[in-house]
Structure formats: structure tokens, C-alpha cells
């Protein structure tokens, strides 16, 4: 099975030692990825985005991989600033304040008039807005509650491309087709697990993420649009490494580390669900290229049906399916 130019449209590469430890897990198999800006402090200036991209390029070494950079949204971004940074970024990521890892400086109200200058400038400059869509309500309701904010933003800024990041609910799936300018990413793990897998048997910290995995009917709704490669839907792993001790502790950090196994497990999932390779190719790359108007570096990943055991950890980061068998492995990666 061959996949060409795989893209991960939502990726956490972190910084410093963690960046150095895990960057190649994505860079070896993907052509490029949208890089999340929620560092400490967040990536908010041209200098910061340029410097972060340089650190990423250093960490990936000789891998052919494009980090599609993003800024951490501030309502005060104006057109002059955005024009100055346009060539360095692919999108801007909006976090509601305090909603996930390193999101303390995010947006705390969604007043359209307050957001108008920044979002209209982004519309004019064709900069997509990636949104972590959760309220601070009850954990199982947060994303569904945020749908009305998506509706408000999508109708107030009809020329703005709004990407609903890592959607997890049927409510998000339902709103996708109601507005031309709404798109979505879906993670690997939200196609596979529900809250049952996180907390239904033993508690599984390595499957704890934000948004939290939801109900079986939510997973079914996500699977449907992913497997049919709905043209407004892209793969975005939200692969989010934390050191093992930060996951297995009395206050476990949110994030599932899927980068090194994402393509293999997607291949298995699409096969098990009788979805076509063509759809997998669209989900993993084609849809994103159209939505973002990208021309990624050519890369061909050949997968073979050969069961392998997933390592216990990658430089101290425990991946999804650690020590478990997965059905596909990567046989060859060719640039070009």
C-alpha cells in the first residue's frame, strides 16, 4: 500500500529537548505538518515563529519535511502585522483561555466586534483560523457547547476559513456542512477510542487528551466522514508528547502521542472498515492540499501488512499502542 505526501494538519512538536527527541517521528513519514504554537511562551511574533521554525528544521536534520507554522491568536493582531508575517505562517491557532496545555493566554470572550479587525484581516490575507473549540463547561459537553461559537464566527466572517480542530462529537460533524467556510481535522485516536477506552476499564492516562474522547455515537459520526474522505475533513493527529512521568502521575497531562504509528494504524483502520485507499489518500493529504492550497514535498510511504510490536516509548514518550501489536508497518519511504 502506498501513500503519497502524507500531511498531519495538527501537530505538537514542543520545544527544546522534547522537540529534538520526537521531531523525526513525524518528519520521517510525513511530508509536512501544521505546527501548533502553544509553547511557553506561545509563538506570537514574527521573530518567534521564524526562530521556532529554525529549531524545528535543526531537530529534523536531513528529513524532507515542511513545518507549516502557525501563530497563537491574539485579538490585537492587525493587518499591518499580519501582512508582515504572512509569508512565515500557514495558519493562526485560536485557543479559548485555559482550555488545554499552555493555552493560558487565549481568547476568553468571543465578541465578534472585538475579533473583527483581526479576523477580517485574516480573511483578506487568506490566513485560515484553526480553532480549539471547547467551552469551559462540563467535560463531555464542552465541544457541543462550542458549536454556537463556530456558527457565530462562520456567519460573521464568511470569507474566513475556519478549521474546527480535532473534532470529537456528532454535533461538530453536523455543523460542518452548514457553513461553506467550516472545515475540520480529526485525530487518529478519536477515530478509535471512546471514553470507555480512557476510563471504562482501568484508567488509561496515555489515552487522556483534550478534547476528551466522547461517546460511541460520536466516534461513529467521525468515522463516517473520515472513511468517506468528506472533502472538508483532514487528518490532524494532535500528536502531543509528554514525558512518561507527566502522564503516569497524580495529575496527568493531556495528549496522546500517535506520530510514529499514525499512518500504519490509519491503513489498518481504513482496511478493516472497507474504505478505499483513494479515500485514505484524500483524508491523509488530498483534502488538506485543497483546503489549505498547499504543494507539499513529494514523499511516498510504502506500508506492508506485517505485524509489529509498537515500542514501549520513543525517547521517554509512550506512544499509543505501546507494547501492542499493530497490523501494518512501514516498508519504505521515498522522497519524490
Amino acid at each position: 500500500m502506498q501513500l503519497t505526501t502524507p500531511l498531519d494538519m495538527h501537530l505538537h512538536l514542543r520545544d527544546g529537548e522534547m522537540l529534538d527527541n520526537i521531531a523525526k517521528c513525524s518528519a520521517s513519514t510525513f511530508s509536512g505538518a501544521i505546527i501548533m504554537p502553544n509553547l511557553v511562551p506561545p509563538v506570537r511574533t514574527k521573530e518567534e515563529v521564524v526562530a521556532y521554525k529554525e529549531r524545528i528544521m535543526k531537530a529534523i536534520g536531513d528529513e524532507r519535511f515542511t513545518p507549516y507554522m502557525t501563530l497563537f491568536f491574539k485579538p490585537s493582531y492587525d493587518k499591518v502585522f499580519l501582512e508582515s508575517v504572512r509569508d512565515e505562517i500557514t495558519a493562526i491557532k485560536l485557543y479559548p483561555a485555559g482550555i488545554t496545555t499552555n493555552s493560558e493566554g487565549g481568547v476568553s470572550g468571543f465578541d465578534v466586534e472585538e475579533l473583527r479587525p483581526a479576523l477580517e484581516a485574516m480573511s483578506e490575507l487568506d490566513i485560515p483560523l484553526c480553532v480549539h473549540g471547547e467551552t469551559n463547561g462540563f467535560v463531555m459537553d464542552r465541544e457541543a457547547e462550542f458549536v454556537s461559537i463556530y456558527e457565530k464566527l462562520a456567519s460573521a466572517f464568511p470569507k474566513l476559513k475556519i478549521i474546527m480542530e480535532h473534532i470529537t462529537t456528532k454535533e461538530s460533524v453536523e455543523v460542518l456542512d452548514k457553513f461553506e467556510n467550516l472545515y475540520a481535522t480529526i485525530t487518529l485516536h478519536h477515530l478509535l477510542i471512546t471514553l470507555d477506552d480512557v476510563a471504562g476499564g482501568m484508567l488509561k492516562p496515555h489515552l487522556f487528551c483534550k478534547p476528551i474522547a466522547k461517546r460511541p455515537e460520536d466516534r461513529e459520526a467521525l468515522l463516517k466522514i473520515a472513511l468517506e474522505a468528506h472533502p472538508k475533513v483532514m487528518f490532524g493527529s494532535d500528536s502531543a508528547p509528554h514525558p512518561k512521568h507527566a502522564k503516569e502521575s497524580c495529575g496527568c497531562a493531556a495528549g496522546v502521542f500517535t506520530a510514529p504509528i499514525a499512518l500504519q494504524v490509519l491503513a489498518e483502520l481504513f482496511e478493516n472498515k472497507n474504505a478505499s485507499l483513494e479515500n485514505l489518500q484524500a483524508f491523509i493529504s488530498g483534502n488538506a492540499q485543497k483546503i489549505y492550497a498547499l504543494s507539499p514535498l513529494a514523499k511516498t510511504v510504502t506500508l506492508e501488512k506485517k505485524s509489529v510490536t509498537v515500542p514501549s516509548d520513543y525517547n521517554g514518550v509512550v506512544p499509543m499502542y505501546a507494547d501492542e501489536k499493530i497490523a501494518y508497518s512501514i516498508k519504505e519511504i521515498k522522497n519524490g
Copy 2:
């Protein structure tokens, strides 16, 4: 504030080293407790229940405390057997198979005719049936789905006292008054937390339990009947110790350890919610004495409003509120 003869109507004391390590956490402050039988192997014979009680008595040393013993329900228990064991037990605990810690040998169907011989014998001998009421459905629905089984059992065996253990949902609260022979225990932690506290911010393994904490409206329903000391409701801590490493690991065991702080935190909760001391006394002892027809050992616990920091652990078991301040502390415990 004085509480007399506090009773914990649902307690896990475990066995071996763990029993020795934590038994006094309950035995020092409570007059007695219903002891869960889900050891490995479960407590299923007269010899086992007698021997387990002896081990408990040894572990509590010179504390004045009654372990109210239970058997692990088997549909094959007949009247001859139950008569032979009647004097050694206070209740029998039914676990659906595989639903929680050490419940593998539980009931896997709820066929009334299959259960009739055992449950009619229990009715005749006035042995209450304590039930862990969860199906094997989606984790947030399991208890609500079990309500129809409670209804079936309560109407098929109208003389059988059925205790809905550690209820967590408004659905369980609603069914309580529909059948004269249904009663319930409520834990401390389910009066305090929702799923938000377990998985809404960081993941908190020490708050992970079965049944899992539910929605805010569920907690409100539980609080209402606890604070008003609804006569069919009793305190049952479900205090369930696990070693720290079994909680902070890649597969965390279910259970919250509340035994050493239960009375203090209940005092604070009832005060904060403007519920009377009389109601707390009924919730912590009076209701249970009437429902189970018990005459517990006299014990008077004097609490004072004096903030203390809860220890990080008790012999390696991390309690609820570890390293946090609670408003009440125990000033004096008097036998008699």
C-alpha cells in the same frame, strides 16, 4: 460537633499487608462497616467469611469496631447454606461479572428464575442484597442502564431488601422511592466530584473510581437526598485502597481512598450546604441502623473546626485530598 456510632455501609478493607496497613483508618473513627467480599478469591463460604473476619479483627487490634461481613453472591446459594452462614454475615453483595475490581466471578445474566432460589431464601432469612448496579455498557450510561434491573429485582422479590450501592446518577435517585424495598448508599466522593474533577483538567487517577463520577446534575440529585438524610439512604464510603504505584501508572486501578477523612469532610460539606447535624447523624448512622436493624458499638467522635493538611499517604495509599487542607479535624474519639 459530635457524631455518634458512625457507620460506613460500604467499605473495602482488602487483605494481607494492605488490610494491616489501612484497617485502622476506618476502625478508629467508625463503629462498624459493611465489609466488601471481593477478595481474590472472593469470600464465598462460611469458612472464608469467618477467617476473613478474624484477619480483620487482628488488623484492627484494640479498636472497638464491628466488621459487618458479607458474602460474594452466587446464584447457587441455597437456603440450607444461607441458614448455616446467617449468623456470620450481615448482607450478601452481588457483582455483575467483570464490572469492577475482583468481580470476575459475578453474575452475568439477571434471569429472575435463575436467581429466585437464592433471593427468596435471602428474603426469608432477611439477608439484604447489596448490588453493584452497572451494566457493561458505555461508562457514563452503565448505572442508568442498570435501573431496569433494579426494577425487575425489586418487583420480583418484594420482601428482599435491595441496597443500590454507591449510586451516582439522578436515575438511581429517582427509582429509590418507586419500590419500598430499594435502599441506597452514597459515597463521600460522589457528593463532591463530577467527571470534570477526574478528567476535566489534568487527569486525576486518585479520583478514578467505579462507578465513575458523573454529571453535575447527577451530583446535585445525590446531594439533595444525602443532605436531607432521606430515610432510605446511608453513607457508604466505598473507600478502596490501592498502592500509589497502582494508581499512578499506565493502567490505573479504580477506587478512591476516603476512610481517614470521610467524617471530617462530611462535617464540612453538611455545614457548607446548611444541612443540620441531625441530618448528618442520620446519614452517617441512624438510617443505616434502621434499614439493617443494627445495634452498633457506641462510639462518639468529636470534630472541631480546625484546618489540617491531609497526609500525602497512609502507608503508601494516597487519600482523597492528599496534601490539601480540610476544615475539620478529629478532636476526640470516645468509646461509649
